[in-house]
Symmetry: D2
Subunit: 335 residues, 4 copies
């Protein structure tokens, strides 16, 4: 299952060290202006090698539009976006061919498929998220025209919430060959009321699905989140006046349907599993091994998840927006 | 979107105060023994009126198998389970026809559809979850034959984690016309490795979707959950020996694929929004109103979410199990 | 797979001699007036026992709306329609428990599922189509409001095309314990241009899928149909003037998209396989047997397929209409 | 909707004169050997310029595997196949920018999307079928390992059924700037019993959907096809002996489920709509125009539909085969 969405259907493909990664978007509305530059802008935000928080690897990540756009406008036909893989040091991964890295998908892939591309995580590599960011870029441009703005940020690292201390914690982790977890917060403003379906297609459920589908995310909270369990009804209910709601514990979604308030989401992200520290593991034959993961790795993957989470939010909202169009028209005023 | 699952497809229907609620299950394997009694067993666990923690309403919730089962065995054809609505005091809800209850889906439905069945929440009523529990009962029986056991419990209420104090907190809330939130924990034992798809159909993402699709759930955590954000890589990684894993921060799922360890999930649930305390709201004309929600309501919906969460977990695992069957065979050993 | 459609999703359930048959419709627009009487009108057209062309069995086929309609209007929630099975002479089928009727699905079900409800065809009975007709009734009422009229008729029986001779052929077949095939023609007027997707969701492909999904249909033709293979380009092309098209060989669909012309479809239907004539067959143990199928059977199932084909056409168009809504709006005028 | 299939999901993309066309296959079993050469073999059969029956255009159609295959074996991850567009004489189509060719999808696209890529038919070009053939090649290789062989042939042209006369008819049409229709027949041998779902996912319905989804197909017949309407029950029923069936009017499918007999399908295909003969039409402003379609066009598209129809059959069977795997196991023997 490599497709996301029912109306704005996004199918990603590609292994980390294969020929290319990419995405096909089916269901994009026609007549909408989009350019490679606009997509590249978001890809560059995800790109590694930009600061000392992130891995110094150089990935060109240059996106190419192969179909679905004609003279600068979408045709309503499938849009294929391709990113060639150029910076591939596959040899770095030779020793990983027969050993499972703790905290990684290596063993799961092997047990599920009986075969895997071990180079750089193959299909399970974070690199696959570049395809999501590319697709999300188109959704974001469309949503912005509708006044819907998505904004994500890193709000905590290893428990620290002050920016300069967060930076220091990451640098320390990098210097020690360690890694740290973090929290990413998302705010969506301008979302119209009415998005989301009330039973199984709840907007918050779709967001949870999208966010938990990003590698490393261990918790998804909407609005009050885990705090809700310690509150009373009179504290938690968002009272309503003619001016609007008096609070936003709902996080902008009630009964699975957007209320028009800001949508508030918080993701807890585990530390990067690739660390230099020596760890116990087993190989493909079940023999015990010790491993110290070398190579260039982000000490805090939460940093790079920010643009990915924004992109996934864009995909969820774009899909819900198209879904909602089916129930708007004519017959509505009848009763 | 009232259907859950791709292989074991569950479609629920029915409003709280309509003629009936029910569910159609498409894709259930043939030749599997199931009876109304076995389904009723799980429905009775969800039924209100069993203790003073839950609402004293009497709902018969008697399930009837209308199709798909012949001489006690599933046919492989759609199974329709029906529960007639009998205890309907619709008049209780007359005053709610034009007023939106804070913390409820009332306003969202009205804005989305332009029409709603206001009686008892209509389609958004917790009563809809009886249909999920009925479908989940069939999945659970099947999974048990495969050695997969799902177990849920209420592990915290308004911050209290000691059982007798949890009970007292709920009683106090009830006496004050208030309500409290809580935490539900799920453990799945016996789950084979290999379930779940690696990119968008990750097992943890599907679980998050299923759980956040239960009304009132504000956070879903897998394994280490929100704690993951405060950990280091060497603390979080589950090291592997030939005997198995040394810890279970992953919560039984790595890279979206089950590892064979216990699956650990935690849900934070908001307090019941129906409270006697006077609150501000607006009516369908946007005029400000005050509301005190009367009637028989659970002071802590988390109590009744336990069997619903178990049922949804069963639906996720059943679906993943059938999905996995497509990639097991022959060609696997070839390379 | 017992669900039809992507937007107006119709799931049927029920075996011929089980407790009930029925259908759940998910995705019906809200605020649309519908009554049991309107649905019953179409069911009565399908009902057997109306003339001497069709089986004298009495099936009450009384439809009940269980959900999704409130005070006469659709809610936008799932609509469950139920038809209790009342006229069940299961004993008639006892001898069929271990024998496969030629021309029927008996053997296929047994080989596929390893279990079957042998009574009256079970799930493969034509009775299942009553559920399709009920769902189609709602779609037809909606389409009529949009000016789209679906009309089907029996245009040939065993090669005869003159009505009174068609009747005579059917009577003769009945008297001889034989059966005959026939042709059903469908015309859709008022269909707007633009319905259907250009590649895999072509409107004609969806129609072919819907029609070939009716038991007994062996050929589906659109417009010129089989004649197209014997024509030249200048004969077949429908030339265009400012007044409209000069012919309709396309059958109202070009490149998979409706053109605004009448949609023309023709179905060739096999003779009823249940005949008194003695035939060779085998039983569940592979032993050779002779069979003469007794009981009350339509001598020409094409007669009763007319309302079913109309219903399926309604489901296809309803689904395409909702799909098309997603690409109509705002951004369209931009380029 | 540019995706075909539920289990072996094939999504095509690309316009005729864009940068590239291609396909992503999601759900291909892992550990299966496949090479670019094997795929190229089938693409070359579809390629134009091979004989004087088909257009002398030169299309390189060189396929490249971008993902999903590692060291010659499928990974179980999405397979992206890419074909660069090289022979693009877009200027040939300049005059078609504002004029609708009779018999083509031009007007439908314009009315549906409000924008189109007019060059060579854009997305509706027959060139899109190269992507289907590439995906079908992988399915065919897999099916062959299972003993399932698909074979298609051109069996009639403009009513002629003798090969050398068929050739002459095509040459004559080409010389006159005309075109002719034809019939393509498909035979599948080695198909196991049990494929296909009994209600909406009938195997014959899926085949009809797949075949009618090929541009130019106006009729799909299974087994006896249109002849069924003129037959009696005793003529049409395929009687069964312990040796097998005595006839094959069913065309290998009964009640929507494969019987194990050869699957027989016949397609009637319209004449190529691009002809030199002067025809009436209108332009994008609704003004009347005359058109004579120049350029290199196949005088009989049925010729080139043979490999496309084979490919689509392979996709249907591959999907049904994977679907069937879900219901095979353990519980089956229980009752």
């Amino acid at each position: 299952m490599n497709t996301f969405g029912r109306n704005f259907r996004v199918t990603t493909f590609g292994e980390s060290h294969g020929a290319a990664i990419g995405v096909v978007i089916d269901g994009c509305p026609p007549g909408f202006a989009i350019s490679e530059n606009e997509i590249q802008y978001y890809l560059d935000k995800r790109k590694p090698g930009q600061s000392d928080f992130v891995t110094p690897r150089k990935e060109a990540d240059a996106v190419q539009i192969l179909s679905g756009v004609f003279q600068g406008y979408t045709l309503g036909t499938p849009i294929c976006l391709l990113i060639q893989n150029t910076s591939m040091k596959s040899a770095d991964y030779d020793e990983l061919q027969e050993i499972f890295r703790p905290g990684h998908a290596d063993r799961g892939y092997f047990e599920k498929y009986g075969i895997r591309d071990h180079r750089g995580g193959g299909r399970s590599s974070g690199r696959e998220t570049a395809a999501r960011v590319a697709a999300g870029a188109i959704a974001r441009r469309y949503l912005e025209k509708e006044g819907i703005i998505i904004s994500g940020s890193l709000t905590s690292v290893h428990g620290e919430e002050v920016p300069e201390r967060m930076e220091q914690v990451i640098r320390d982790a990098r210097d020690q060959g360690e890694s740290v977890g973090g929290v990413v917060s998302l705010v969506v403003s301008g979302c119209p009321p009415g998005l989301g379906d009330p039973v199984f297609g709840k907007l918050d459920a779709l967001i949870a699905y999208a966010m938990m589908g990003i590698g490393g995310v261990k918790a998804v909270e909407i609005g009050s989140g885990v705090m809700a369990a310690s509150m009373t009804g009179s504290e938690h209910n968002d009272q309503i006046t003619s001016e609007g709601y008096l609070s936003n514990n709902a996080g902008g979604i009630l009964g699975g349907i957007s209320s028009g308030q800001d949508i508030l989401v918080r993701l807890s992200i585990k530390p990067t599993p690739s660390i230099r520290t020596l760890q116990q593991t087993v190989d493909t034959n079940g023999m015990e091994r010790k491993i110290s993961v070398k190579g260039r790795h982000d000490p805090c993957i939460a940093v790079r998840i920010v643009p990915v989470a924004e992109a996934m939010m864009a995909l969820v909202l774009m899909d819900a927006l198209l879904e909602q169009r089916k129930i708007i028209p004519d017959c509505r005023q009848e009763p």
